[in-house]
């Protein structure tokens, strides 16, 4: 199987790209993916999430080998990787409340919480499974640009495969978040297209409370959801082609957006561009 980096070499869509376009900010999408502007900094949430993910990956690979990952080993690994992350990237933006040290403490607790909630009776079928699949709409039209991505893990439970995704979250998830999230739609679509099997899907969320809380949110999708997702991608393609990007003013992610400098000047450059074209 190709690696995710192999698949990234070709023009592609991904869950994070579609989600960024529609749910975060289409202008941020454009700065990052179309105009390829260098981000001013690395948001701490991104750096933290990356290390959390790597430790979770180690836990499930250990489980796949038939061993039980220990909470202490997971915490130690987080510590080591977090130190390394900071050494390799001196551009991580912290703030008054979230410092490198608070992240280290919180991270150790979060991965220990995740380790404590692993079910050793589940059979791990895959960890970090990359995919690339064509997008096909309800009429059978095939889009030229594929959907790519990577499943965090796949386990078998009572004979049925279940795709899982690790998340660390600042607060508890609302009840219907998983139901409306685009990620299960994309991942279930891909898995079914590759295997012909419709698996289950669950988010393993560890909430960053003082004492971390583990939540599991299970969800499923129908063909209708898949067709809706493909229509969204078609719409995004159309908007990208026409460079219809707009800032999500007062968006939740504005505070940690590494493109705020470009965003501040966007309207001036955009107006000049339109004026020259007229």
């Amino acid at each position: 199987m190709g690696t995710l980096n192999d698949y990234r070499d070709r023009p592609h869509w991904s869950y994070s790209a579609v989600n960024q376009f529609f749910n975060i900010c289409s202008l941020q999408f454009a700065f990052q993916r179309i105009y390829k502007i260098h981000p001013a900094f690395t948001p701490v949430a991104l750096a933290f999430g990356s290390v959390f993910h790597r430790v979770a990956e180690w836990m499930f690979l250990t489980l796949k080998e038939g061993k039980i990952p220990e909470a202490k080993s997971a915490s130690d690994l987080f510590n080591e990787l977090w130190q390394r992350q900071q050494a390799e990237n001196d551009n991580i933006r912290f703030d008054e409340e979230i410092t490198a040290e608070t992240c280290a403490i919180q991270g150790r607790d979060l991965v220990a919480c995740l380790a404590a909630n692993i079910d050793p009776t589940e059979k791990v079928l895959a960890v970090n499974m990359p995919f690339a699949v064509p997008l096909i709409d309800m009429q059978g039209n095939v889009l030229e640009v594929p959907m790519i991505g990577e499943l965090d893990y796949v386990v078998e439970k009572e004979g049925k495969p279940i795709i899982g995704d690790w998340k660390s979250a600042a607060r508890r998830w609302p009840k219907f978040k998983a139901k409306h999230d685009l990620q299960p739609t994309v991942f279930l679509y891909a898995y079914r297209q590759l295997t012909g099997i419709m698996p289950g899907f669950r988010f393993d969320v560890v909430v960053k409370n003082k004492t971390p809380v583990f939540e599991r949110h299970e969800t499923e999708r129908t063909d209708s959801a898949f067709h809706r997702m493909v229509e969204l991608v078609k719409l995004a393609e159309d908007m990208v082609q026409h460079e219809h990007f707009c800032p999500n003013e007062q968006g939740f992610y504005c505070g940690s957006c590494p493109y705020h400098g470009a965003c501040d000047n966007w309207h001036q450059n955009y107006a000049r561009h339109i004026s020259l074209a007229a």
């Binding site: 199987m1 190709g2 192999d6 698949y7 070499d9 070709r10 023009p11 995919f131 690339a132 699949v133 064509p134 096909i136 059978g140 095939v142 889009l143 030229e144 640009v145 594929p146 790519i148 079914r192 297209q193 590759l194 295997t195 012909g196």
Partner: protein, 145 residues
């Protein structure tokens, strides 16, 4: 005698230099056998173009194998490939294959299973351009039949 001349060129912006680009170009000339139908010629043009385009893209992305597991830097002489390690199938080829398969009523999972068995790769996007070309020819032939 019919001759087919196919070429592909691409301009790539030069990093750090505004309004500058480097141009890459490749062309190939092949002789076509007599008696080909218009559709066969059209198919040959399509396949040859994909081959040339794929090769140029391969050079630019430095994806050619140098035989010891490392990748050649971009814009060097084409590396020798073995097995399925040639230029990867293009998105256009996959679309063409999937369109043909859909027209023939072949489910995508069925298509992927066939590809896995025949070429020993996991899915459509793991094919090389050459393998994709073979698959396209077969799908077209079975369509004509």
């Amino acid at each position: 005698m019919l001759k087919l001349n196919t070429s592909y060129s691409k301009k790539v912006p030069v990093d750090g230099k505004e309004y500058s680009s480097q141009s890459y170009h490749a062309s190939v000339e092949v002789e076509l056998p007599d008696g080909m139908t218009a559709e066969q010629i059209q198919n040959k043009i399509h396949d040859t173009f994909l081959l040339v385009k794929g090769s140029v893209e391969e050079e630019l992305t430095g994806k050619t194998s140098n035989g010891n597991g490392q990748q050649n830097p971009p814009a060097q002489a084409p590396g020798k490939t073995n097995g399925n390690s040639g230029a990867k199938v293009t998105n256009k080829q996959v679309k063409f294959i999937t369109d043909l398969a859909t027209q023939k009523g072949i489910q995508l999972t069925e298509l992927n299973a066939g590809i896995k068995k025949r070429f020993n790769v996991d899915g459509l996007y793991d094919l090389s351009t050459k393998q994709a070309s073979e698959l396209l020819d077969e799908l077209k032939q079975s369509k004509a039949a």
